[in-house]
């Protein structure tokens, strides 16, 4: 499997480390216990497209959000996690309250 790092270009899997599901979001501090259990412990095991975090430790040390098909390892999208987070923050700010 190869990932195309936005900074470094196409690189082999050995340069990256899988860092988990990229779609989980930290609940509000006063969220229910169940929401926190979900956030801390429970992960989906999807068959198909999955958004996940990868760390380019042997390259530019960027965190990436990769959209991958878990069945075929087809890569649909690789973006800087920083850009994804900033875009989300702007969207949230635009909508006011964070859901």
């Amino acid at each position: 499997m190869r990932l195309t790092c936005p900074s470094c270009g196409s690189r082999g899997l050995e340069e990256f480390t899988y860092r988990g599901d990229a779609s989980v979001r930290r609940p509000a501090a006063d969220a229910s216990e169940q929401a926190w259990v979900d956030y801390v412990y429970l992960r989906d095991n999807p068959c198909g497209r999955h958004q996940e975090l990868w760390y380019h430790g042997a390259g530019c040390r960027s965190w990436l959000v990769v959209t991958r098909d878990t069945r075929t390892h087809e890569i649909f999208d690789v973006r800087n996690a920083r850009d994804v987070a900033l875009t989300e923050r702007q969207t949230d700010a635009g909508q006011g309250e964070i859901a």
Binding site: S7, E15, A58, R61, N80
Partner: protein, 197 residues
Amino acid sequence: MADQLFPVPPVKYGSLRVGGMTLEQSPFAETVSLGAFLGAGRDELVNRIHEMFGVILPEHPRAVHAADGRCTFLWNGPGQWLAIAVEGLGLLSRLREVCGDVCALTSQSDSRAILKLSGPNVREVASRLVPIDLHPRVFGKDHVASTLAGHIPVIIWQTEDAPTYLFLVFRSLAASLFHDFSVALNGLSYSETDSCV
């Protein structure tokens, strides 16, 4: 009485010549890492370096040379660079004056050694260890890349068109990388000491 400290080179062998190719340690260089602070730090850093050194810090994995030719800046990740100069120029104090307030400056001089690989066929030799494409179509003069040589993290920097490569490697791994290259140079090598000078 305490023993006196004495400098030990990161690789004990001087250089290695195989088939017209040379693997050697580059002279000790002053190295400083620059990490732009958040916010306006990055643009301000680029402006200041441009004013003082006459170069634009690269956004992509490239090396750029200061107008006076005494210092080089390597891309080293988003918003991060390595400044390299020959020893004795006071690079860190100079950078501290120029841009100490807009970026994190850390001396990396002791952290890395530099191995130089030059001569014919060095692209083939380097390709045995480095998993990136070194074809001249995609990797040319003053291109740099952070990657792995075998299992050893390196920054590879092509300094000449007829490829000459510098490998910036963590000092404690320099001897292992030297050995790996000696094997790559010899094809099926026995020991690097056999052909060392």
